[in-house]
């Protein structure tokens, strides 16, 4: 008797819960007139808050939700701050709480998630939509593939340069260097005029300069910067020579505080005309015209140049899908297609200043008017034969960190170039285990 009562209670409880869930589930009419449940997808993003891309990303998500109203809905989980976003994504991927749409923040975790089967392979969807497939560059697809399977769709690629202050260059009577000897001679001339030649810090900006020096130092150096497999051995003549140049650069051509500076310090230094050069991507030009970051008219003072003999160009990780159910995968796929369409890539290039991945996107007239530096860099890119990656993409993050941490000791003389190499190799050995 008691057993029957209990059974009745359980059945009633389950019925109430089912009714509650069903009543809470949203039903609606799709834009195309068909009735159905709106599929919601989770999109964690760092392109929020004060991020320069935030307004454009928000507008794109809104446009997607409008286009697929009643069918799909992208819900953005806001995670402000690049480091926070990377950390949160890593925690999500590590714990198995994989979001429906993945904006990868680092190759290591993306690759591990692929190995763990947490990212959807997109080959069949690409094959089913040849037009979409043809709008993505082959190299971009290859970069986002593992063992023949495509796991993410790229929408931009990196092209890096260094910026110079035209006024300070004029004062020193110099022009952008075409050889490294000329580059160092320019630095000497700037120094003679009491101008700090390079706004430097040991992470992002320093890595770009070091990548340039190492990639131009010889075949071994170029191979290290452009390694297909993450390198664990760094002990060669090119590396030793590049480290010596790096030390010279910090010692002679940057402020004393550069060895422990942060990106903001270097950027501020350049944008306040307290240094003649800084290395970065084209997106920095948005800061040059931001009255909160640079003095009025600073944009006109800035020239763009590439490092002697090479230009940095690399593919980026694209947008992946972590959704598990077929309906969520379908919704996430629609989102990825929407965000990586040539139109969106063109507008992203136009507004944010990232070079589009798609071969179908051309530099527009409007872009030429709004982003003169981008056009200038694009021309330099097309003219320069040697293209190179940067160490930030090809080395273990732990090795980059080991190099960054070693720089103060190396420049101050308490560590030798060999010590730096040893600490990098130790970090690489640990990371590869």
């Amino acid at each position: 008797m008691r057993k029957t009562n209990l059974k009745k209670k359980v059945v009633s409880l389950v019925s109430v819960m089912v009714i509650a869930v069903l009543s809470l589930t949203s039903c609606g009419v799709n834009k195309d007139g068909t009735e159905g449940r709106e599929v919601t997808i989770r999109v964690p993003s760092g392109l929020v808050g004060t991020h320069p891309s935030a307004p454009y990303f928000a507008a794109d998500v809104e446009a997607f939700n409008e286009q697929y109203k009643g069918k799909y809905k992208a819900v953005v989980e806001e995670i402000p701050g690049d480091a926070n976003f990377a950390e949160k994504m890593n925690v999500m991927l590590t714990s198995g709480d994989v979001p429906d749409v993945i904006f990868p923040t680092g190759m290591d975790y993306f690759e591990k998630s692929i190995k763990a089967g947490r990212v959807v392979a997109l080959n069949e969807y690409l094959d089913a939509d040849p037009e979409w497939k043809s709008s993505i560059s082959e190299v971009g697809l290859e970069y986002n593939s593992r063992d023949g399977k495509v796991y993410a769709i790229p929408r931009d690629r990196g092209i890096l340069c260094y910026y110079y202050n035209k006024d300070l260059y004029k004062k020193a009577g110099i022009k952008p260097a075409e050889t490294w000897d000329e580059f160092w001679s320019n630095c000497d001339k700037l120094k003679e005029k009491g101008i700090t030649p390079i706004a430097l810090e040991p992470s992002w900006v320093g890595n770009i300069f070091f990548s340039a020096i190492l990639a131009s130092s010889g075949e071994d150096g170029y191979a290290l910067v452009n390694a297909k497999e993450k390198p664990t051995k760094f002990n060669n003549e090119d590396m030793l020579n590049a480290l010596k140049k790096l030390k010279d650069m910090y010692e002679k051509y940057a402020d004393a505080g550069a060895v422990v500076a942060k990106y903001e310090n270097a950027a501020n230094q350049f944008m306040n005309s307290r240094a003649a050069m800084v290395a970065n991507g084209i997106w920095m030009t948005n800061d040059f015209s931001d009255p909160n970051k640079a003095p009025e008219g600073f944009m006109d003072k800035v020239g763009v140049a590439t490092f002697p003999g090479l230009v940095f160009s690399y593919n980026n990780l694209g947008i992946g899908i972590g959704a598990k159910t077929p309906e969520k995968i379908e919704a996430a796929l629609a989102f990825v297609k929407f965000m990586t369409s040539p139109e969106k890539q063109a507008s992203y290039m136009d507004t944010v200043g990232e070079f589009a991945d798609s071969p179908k996107v051309e530099i527009s007239e409007k872009l030429m008017k709004n982003k003169p530096h981008m056009v200038e860099l694009w021309n330099i890119y097309n003219k320069t034969e040697v293209k190179s990656n940067i160490i930030g993409n090809t080395w273990y993050p732990a090795v980059i960190e080991a190099l960054q941490t070693a720089i103060p000791g190396f420049v101050s003389g308490s560590m030798s170039a060999q010590d730096v190499i040893d600490s990098m190799e130790a970090a690489a050995t640990k990371a590869s285990k």
């Binding site: 960190e401 130790a426 640990k430 990371a431």
Partner: protein, 289 residues
């Protein structure tokens, strides 16, 4: 019977806390212990590898010995400096001079401010080009002492240490509470017998603070063993590995994708904490205290 009843009440009062500890601490602790013996990249399934992580940590990881030595140095420095300063602050406050509450608030301020904010402040104080420290040295005609404080391994350790070592507010307030808890009559008797205030503090009050000293030493030691934010924000363990601590090494090892290795170092760090606490207890707290 009464003792049994007391035990039941003690258990009931401890129960809520126990439930939270089990729910929120026990699981991570178990994960740490288990994965310390596994090859684990943080994403794929951990694979048992015996003592391999510990073997690598103790025998091959050059950073580990330096991190261990630095952590032990910080433990000793923190115990000596914070306990001494806290004791002095406690005695000063116990005098309850005019405005002592303002003094108490002032020494507590650094403990209230976020450590990330304090570390950022010190980062700029130590800046060789525009930092306050070099500017003061310049004004005092001591330019020869100016340095790039965080860039040299000879100065970085002490620069990092000075960024947090003097924050004795919490320790001071604990000492103050213990001092004022000692019956006033004992001190008054000593004063009547001709002792000075200083002698009363040293011979009457101080011996009764043994348990509080031990508690504060344990607090200081545990803070030093777990210190991460100041070190990571100022030097990330550099230059080289001259300011590497166990906590920073755990983070860096995990960052390198070696979660199993990181957990093994974390476990060693926890064991170190238990040993240090045990030694302090053994030396300062007797059963009859």
């Amino acid at each position: 019977m009464a003792k049994k009843k007391d035990s039941l009440w003690i258990f009931l009062f401890l129960l809520p806390c126990l439930i939270f500890i089990l729910a929120f601490s026990a699981f991570p602790i178990i994960v740490t212990i288990v994965t310390a013996f596994c090859k684990w990249d943080g994403v794929t399934t951990p694979v048992f590898c015996g003592l391999k992580n510990f073997k690598f940590t103790f025998l091959e990881d050059a950073d580990f010995s330096i991190a261990m030595i630095n952590t032990l140095k910080w433990v000793v420095i923190q115990i000596v400096v914070q306990t001494s300063l806290g004791l002095i602050a406690g005695f000063i406050m116990s005098r309850e001079f005019k405005g002592w509450k303002i003094y108490r608030t002032l020494i507590m301020i650094p403990n209230i401010i976020q450590s990330a904010a304090l570390a950022t402040m010190f980062y700029y104080i130590y800046n060789p080009d525009m930092g306050l420290l070099n500017a003061i040295l310049g004004k005092l005609a001591l330019s020869e002492l100016q340095s790039n404080w965080l860039a040299y391994d000879t100065t970085a350790f002490w620069a990092v240490t000075c960024s947090w070592i003097f924050y004795c507010g919490t320790v001071g307030v604990i000492f103050y509470s213990a001092i004022v808890g000692i019956p006033q009559s004992e001190r008054e008797s000593a004063l009547l017998d001709g002792c000075t205030k200083f002698q009363t503090d040293v011979y009457i009050v101080l011996p009764q603070l043994k348990a509080t000293i031990a508690t504060n030493m344990i607090l200081s030691a545990v803070t030093a063993i777990n210190m991460f934010d100041f070190i990571y924000m100022l030097t990330k363990g550099g230059p080289g590995n001259s300011t590497m601590s166990l906590a920073v090494l755990v983070y860096k090892t995990a960052l390198a994708g070696n979660y199993g290795g990181a957990m093994s170092i974390g476990l060693i760090q926890a064991v170190l904490g238990v040993i240090v606490v045990g030694v302090i207890n053994k030396l300062l707290i007797r059963e009859d205290d």
